[in-house]
Symmetry: C2
Subunit: 603 residues, 2 copies
């Protein structure tokens, strides 16, 4: 007789999961998949990765006792099921909406979110800190880091593994292997993991070797004995099969990530070991939703879509990213020295055009932003012009490399900073509000901030073809919505002198708001002049002389205040008043957030 | 008949090396060792690591054609022999002196220095950029990255290996394995590499397995054949022996790093392969100088010493580092929640006292600054108070982790920023002049900058016991040389109102210079008031109100200008004039450098 059907909404979660049968769990998984598809089709978000981790998450909450056992989700965009199972089912339809639940893990949202997640590859380090605290407390619970194979291209994973393997803590690392990260995975590690996934898996091979030796006449048993008793190096080669064992972990896997029974058995074994364990789980990205299984890349991070067909609700014709990408591709035809570099964001940064035309000069380095900049340093030292396109928030990982591996030599490289400013529904881990502060603290850097597509193209040319040293071009997420007169595009600054006593200054997409504000104020009888900065740094003496002539200057800026440009202008021009961002910015619609920050309506 | 003796000084270097016999090379190595010991005993610098790489460097320059082949030295403090052999022998006695040659590699010092070196673990990424450029140029020369095993704890090495292994470039990675980094090596990787060093080395084991199979009756040959023809995972297990082969490299080694003949054979083999090769070299740190061989840790980075005995010329009784370390140790007795974390700088940061008293709460994570901060985030999330002591220049690697893994959650952690400000003879890769700029661009951070030992202790207590969130205490390299009246120590600020029209403001060790300046000016009839900031950030409104009352305010600061405190004060108080640092600062004596920067004599 089949088990009684269970309604997910009637369970006390996550506790009731433990008393369900396997077939009831499978039914729960189906219900979760429907919720995931429905919500993401409405709100946008990450679909393929979350469809892949449904059974794994159910098994985790059946085997472990969250929040006493601490689960750290790497990046966090595979944790939707975890959110559904830990008290956020009723609010799940608010996913990524302002005031709703976050698309990533946040300890202040739930005690079941053990650590902030949003940037890749930090989970092992965080979980090791947690496991170490537990050990000091004499607490026998486990800290569990769960990550996709995409995270495995980031160096922090190795720093974490290197420290965790020998740590004598109760810590479990779960690799959710789904054979792809955001873009296609790159590098030797991807190949290594891919081989481990094969049927002749390491685990099975290992026992196979022992079986072969068992049936080998005369020498088999002595070899087996010799192997077992031999020194480490020899033994490692025969009996230790994985890199993770080399680094000090027990290894369990690969497990079928859609078989709850197998997952539970593996996780229970991991739990019982009481020292660092590496659990290798194979999953299918997009599992259970045909369009996502067929094209997991397209369903990594998506906007709204129609469930029946999988067709996206809105097709974005162009964006700052695609305009940059197409222009760089055109430039690449003329200038054979241009190389394009991305850290696993080929499509997100618009580099797919360049990649297709010049595969030999295109480099996707995986989620390895530090390597990316230093690799650019190497290319630049040989006279190539590397262009690294990267999201503002992820460039935060490169502050040291920008100084040490680019600025000191002064070799020429271009950084295209995408998603600069407010990014919207991805929230505070992804807002691009710090790049002005940390980039202006790199010696000899120049920074452009175009306000529309045309200026983006002009700035890109200037940065690539004319500048020396490190040249930055930064631009926002999404498309150009500016409506002001665009005949005055340039790469320096634009000064509109209407004869006013007041001046409004800004740069980037906010110029459109400034332009509107000046018009509204004019109708009210207040004449405001305007300055649009395009080359925003270093500060231009000609501009500061102009600025000093005004009674009051209002500088609006979509950037963190401390270290901002408006702060720098205020230090030189005593009449400048700054409106910038004074803390972290949570998720919501970009326009609404800008409004709240006082960066929409200046008048 | 023995070969003719060769005088190093009469050779045309590096070219003449190629025509020497092995015994002549050995003689050259002895001459180089004398020069190394003599110079470092006079000028200070890195000794043990450089004594270990003499033969390796000679072999490299015999097998390869620098500068056409590009050698990238990781960190660079093992490259003294390389400097001697590439045109800098005559100037080698100026090592680390102002105007003399740098203690690290600098492309603007020699065309043989292929890349800037100073911060660890960047060499593979840089060399891959260079090798990629060579490939695009159709140039058959090689890019060679040389690193110690210490660098292998840094995540960038793995990002580099992951990308290089599959790159199809002519690139060679040389691991100079000497069984120790700056502190004792930590983690699973250290153990793995240590096992590879053993006599039953992987290389020999590999052929041993084949030999065993060769002589195994009946099944031996079929197994060998099956293994060779089997799928990758199975074959890897039996025939691939190292992690580096797993990542796509050919593997050569381990080679005896003091046997020139063996080294040359290995390097020639590597050169002939024409695709990524990993060469494993075993060396003895301090080789050829008994005191350094016996205590390589003490001879990692040293000041002057007496050659005959190895005794250091000057024993530093105390330093800001040791005062911090001892006080933290005292605090650790009372507060069992305090944990101390270092990234391979236990002695450099003064944490040896804490480590000895509380080994279970002390964590050396290797050269893995990113992991260190995120690990602190994990500890902090569980209510522990992690104290991460780190050099200012290396904390540059943590900007993203400080924001993402500490500041967003707001959990309490303390960062002790050692070597903040000018560090002297280590030069521009090591000056601690950026931390004020990038730390003030982290939301909700508080920063203390004590000016003497007493204040350091007070600030440490305040940061650990009273602050919330991320609290920073920053202090300079070396000892407290302040001479002013120290009765007014505190953790806020000190205001000396002599009734002057002018105000001198500063913080940290510069306060001593400010105090002297005020005295000198007073003798000249100019009354200057003084403000010493101790809690330097966030800016205190009470202070800005005071500052605004003066005609002119002179703010002196041992920090990079853009993003500096004086810039922030100038933005708020229109009368503030800033004297800060406007670019990179080369090597030299700290006092002389401060003098040149206008930060010694304010009067």
């Amino acid at each position: 007789m089949a088990d009684k059907k269970i309604d997910l909404h009637k369970l006390k979660l996550p506790y009731d999961l433990k008393r369900l049968s396997i077939s009831q769990c499978e039914d729960i998984c189906a219900q979760i998949r429907s919720i995931l598809i429905e919500t993401v089709s409405e709100n946008g978000g990450h679909l393929a990765s979350n469809l892949g981790t449904v059974e794994l998450t159910v098994a985790l909450h059946r085997v472990f006792d969250s929040p006493k056992d601490k689960i750290v989700w790497d990046v966090g965009h595979q944790a939707y099921t975890h959110k559904i199972l830990t008290g956020r089912l009723d609010r799940f339809d608010t996913l990524r909406k302002e005031g709703g639940i976050s698309g990533f893990c946040r300890p202040d949202e739930s005690e079941h979110d053990a650590f902030v997640s949003g940037h890749s590859s930090n989970s092992i380090s965080a979980a090791l800190g947690i496991a170490t605290a537990m050990k000091l407390n004499g607490d026998k619970h486990a800290a569990i880091a769960v990550m996709g194979d995409g995270a495995f291209t980031g160096g922090m994973i190795f720093e974490g593994l290197n420290n965790a393997g020998k740590s004598d803590t109760n810590m479990i690392v779960i690799l959710n292997y789904n054979e792809m990260s955001i873009s296609k995975n790159v590098g030797g590690m991807a190949k290594y993991l891919s081989e481990m996934r094969t049927k002749d898996s390491y685990k099975k091979t290992k026992s196979a070797v022992e079986r072969v030796l068992d049936v080998t006449p005369v020498v088999g048993k002595p070899i087996k004995k010799a192997v077992r008793e031999s020194k480490n190096a020899f033994k490692n080669m025969i009996l230790h099969s994985t890199m993770f064992e080399d680094l000090g972990f027990e290894y369990i896997g690969p497990l079928d990530g859609h078989n709850i029974e197998e997952l539970e058995a593996g996780l229970r074994a991991a739990k019982s070991i009481g020292k660092p364990v590496f659990v290798h789980v194979n999953t299918v990205k997009g599992k259970g939703y045909a369009p996502a299984e067929e094209n997991p890349g397209e369903y990594h991070g998506v906007g709204k879509f129609e469930i029946a067909t999988g067709n996206p609700d809105v097709v974005t014709a162009d964006s700052f990213s695609s305009v940059m990408g197409k222009e760089l591709c055109r430039m690449g035809r003329q200038n054979k020295k241009i190389c394009a570099v991305t850290a696993a964001m080929k499509y997100g940064t618009g580099l797919q055009y360049f990649a297709k035309s010049f595969p030999e000069r295109f480099f996707d380095v995986g989620i390895a932003e530090e390597h990316a900049v230093t690799f650019c340093g190497g290319l630049a030292s040989m006279g190539y012009v590397p262009v690294f396109a990267v999201y503002s928030t992820f460039l935060q990982r490169d502050y040291d490399q920008l100084i040490h591996d680019l600025a000191i030599s002064g070799d020429h490289a271009v950084i295209c900073v995408d998603r600069a400013g407010i990014v919207g529904s991805d929230g505070e881990t992804h807002q691009g509000i710090f790049d002005v502060s940390f980039l202006t603290a790199v010696p000899n850097i120049v920074i452009y901030s175009p306000s529309n597509y045309k200026e983006l193209e002009l700035c890109l040319h200037k940065a690539v073809e004319e500048e020396k040293g490190t040249a930055v071009v930064r631009y926002p997420r999404g498309s150009d919505k500016s409506v002001y007169d665009k005949t005055d595009c340039g790469t320096g600054y634009e000064y509109k002198d209407f004869g006013g006593k007041y001046l409004i200054m800004t740069y980037g997409r906010l110029y459109d708001n400034a332009y509107k504000a000046a018009q509204i104020l004019k109708e009210q009888g207040i004449v405001c002049d305007l300055i649009k900065l395009v080359k925003i740094f270093p500060i231009d003496k000609q501009i500061t002389e102009t600025v000093k002539c005004y009674d009051r200057v209002f500088f609006f800026e979509e950037a963190y205040f401390s270290g901002s440009l408006s702060e720098k202008y205020a230090a030189v021009c005593k009449n400048v008043e700054s409106t910038a961002i004074h803390g972290f910015v949570k998720h919501g619609e970009s326009d609404a957030l800008l409004d709240e920050l006082g960066l929409s309506n200046f008048s």
